[in-house]
Symmetry: C2
Subunit: 328 residues, 2 copies
């Protein structure tokens, strides 16, 4: 328990290059899932997000791929597509199945090697190793994750993958009790600092020790402008509650509140923050009551996203010359 | 100090009906302002928001109108437009000036009278009374504001208008120091509870006393589904920092993080949360350095939005049968 794979129909596969400090995390949905996405921040890197627009045709996705390597890393999705084709999974067409694999990247070129990126082979490996076990910290797409970069990457800290899950019980008059699971997986590469109970737990460090407090530094005047597009927090929310594409999108919208509660600042011009939401639960809601279900799921999603963000730093050990909070 | 009108070029006018418990708040920009908007939550009520799309032609708005009265209350914007026309303000056309007045509403029909709404006259009055003084609490569009409605409006609490401001100092190498003001005005009609330093300060009340904790109730099972579209938190962010329409939009995006930090849950299916951002500062940024400016403004905007949300409850006295935190 405590992982996105607690949601039935969700597996996770990861692969990484510990020399280049980059990698791939695949959230694999063997039976498919209804998907949505909400993008914030001004520097995204994505593929196949347009088909998640509720107005567009395809209803179900087969996997979500999160990658390091900035735009180069999107190549890993090609390997995921290849693996899914071999498994005969995808959107049915008269000419064969087309695997639907939305993807988003983090920028991790500033840590480890900057000349090697997640590629087709790494994507294929990650997908083919998918299981219910989810490693956290310096692994998969979080291998090169760092947080607190306002003073440059040397004064940042190590972060990575974090996951969390929770159960929702909904009892409404005249209706059988509902019980659903919600899970989150986060790849944390934030520009800002990570907070827990009002205090910074990981972030930009002063050379003299302690944290600089990014939001205060921004307010009081700044040493140097960071580079755009060198950050980003990615997440996948999964649930077995039945959702339409519209509802999945709204779940992603609410989940971003978890970023706001655990990271400050976030959704900046230097981040390309994206959250995907997928449902493995089949039939969609249509009644008024289901607005409550979506609201309850979204509220819970925001909470477990904040928890997964905590885990993405507490589970990351030092690497690439940057300190991490995990020991051993 | 401490109000949105601390930003040069920003005035606020308010009018209300204390019997119907509804009203209008106008953020008036005599010299105009570059505007953007970010809408979240699933139940918005708006006008003239499409022209704020950065792809669209009009660059400057003359006023932002926030109204009670749900969709009926949008009529108040007509009165604001009338007043602005008399002042010869608006977008220049060969056939006269057309005042640009985006507007958004809250649903307040569940408090006071449900058969009287803000109208053209009330909008005109609010605009014509605009000044640097900003009343808070049960006033203007916040007259019928309530928070914590998961158990219905009887167990809610009174909220209303809140405002806050802050100063940003930006010192960058090779550039003269920059000093800008950011201000926020919030009309708080949230579905969720209001938090300060991790604790609920206003929200849904148990009949036995104390707060129910909306997010926990949603998670553990719920009594009855609330009505959609009966909530919404509105805000205007103003700054004298120069912004493009795109930057104004991104400032609104980041300001929503203040909602996430002060309200839980927020951006729900029952809210139509909207934030407008306007700049009275003229020339837009074009360089890399200005991404930092927008990020700093957005970070600060999120903080003062959270502060204005606190004030929207602490400054509201009991009315319409609902308790408020303000005394006297």
């Amino acid at each position: 328990m405590g992982a996105i794979t607690d949601v039935p129909g969700v597996l996770v596969g990861q692969a990484q290059d510990m020399d280049a400090l980059t990698g791939v995390t695949v959230v694999f949905l063997p039976e498919g899932g209804v998907g949505g996405v909400d993008l914030r921040g001004a520097s995204p890197g994505t593929r196949e997000t347009d088909l998640l627009d509720p107005a567009n045709q395809v209803q179900k996705v087969n996997a979500i791929t999160l990658c390091g390597g900035s735009a180069f890393g999107l190549a890993a999705a090609t390997g995921v597509v290849k693996y899914l084709r071999e498994q005969s999974l995808g959107f049915e067409t008269p000419f064969g199945k087309v695997p639907i694999v939305p993807a988003a990247v983090i920028f991790d070129l500033g840590i480890g090697r900057s000349d090697r990126f997640p590629d087709e082979l790494m994507g294929y490996q990650a997908a083919s190793q998918a299981s219910a076990k989810v490693l956290e910290g310096t692994v998969g797409a979080g291998t090169g994750g760092t947080v607190g970069k306002i003073l440059g990457s040397r004064q940042a800290m190590k972060s990575g993958v974090g996951t969390a899950s929770a159960t929702l019980n909904l009892s409404l008059p005249g209706r059988a009790p509902l019980r659903y699971t919600v899970g989150a997986l986060v790849v944390n590469n934030a520009f800002g600092d990570i907070y827990h109970e009002g205090r910074i737990v990981a972030g930009a460090r002063l050379e003299s020790g302690g944290f600089v407090n990014t939001s205060r530094l921004l307010r009081e005047g700044m040493a140097q402008p960071p580079s755009a597009g060198t950050n980003t927090v990615l997440a996948v929310i999964a649930t077995d509650a039945p959702l339409t594409k519209n509802a999945a999108k709204q779940l992603a919208v609410m989940a971003h509140d978890g970023y706001a509660r655990a990271i400050n600042p976030v959704h900046t011009m230097f981040d390309g923050d994206a959250i995907f939401a997928v449902s493995t639960g089949g039939l969609p809601p249509t009644s008024q009551m289901d607005l409550l279900l979506i609201t309850a799921l979204g509220s819970l999603a925001a909470e477990i996203v904040a928890e997964a963000i905590q885990r993405s730093v507490t589970m990351s050990s030092s690497s690439g010359g940057l300190p991490g909070l995990a020991t051993g």
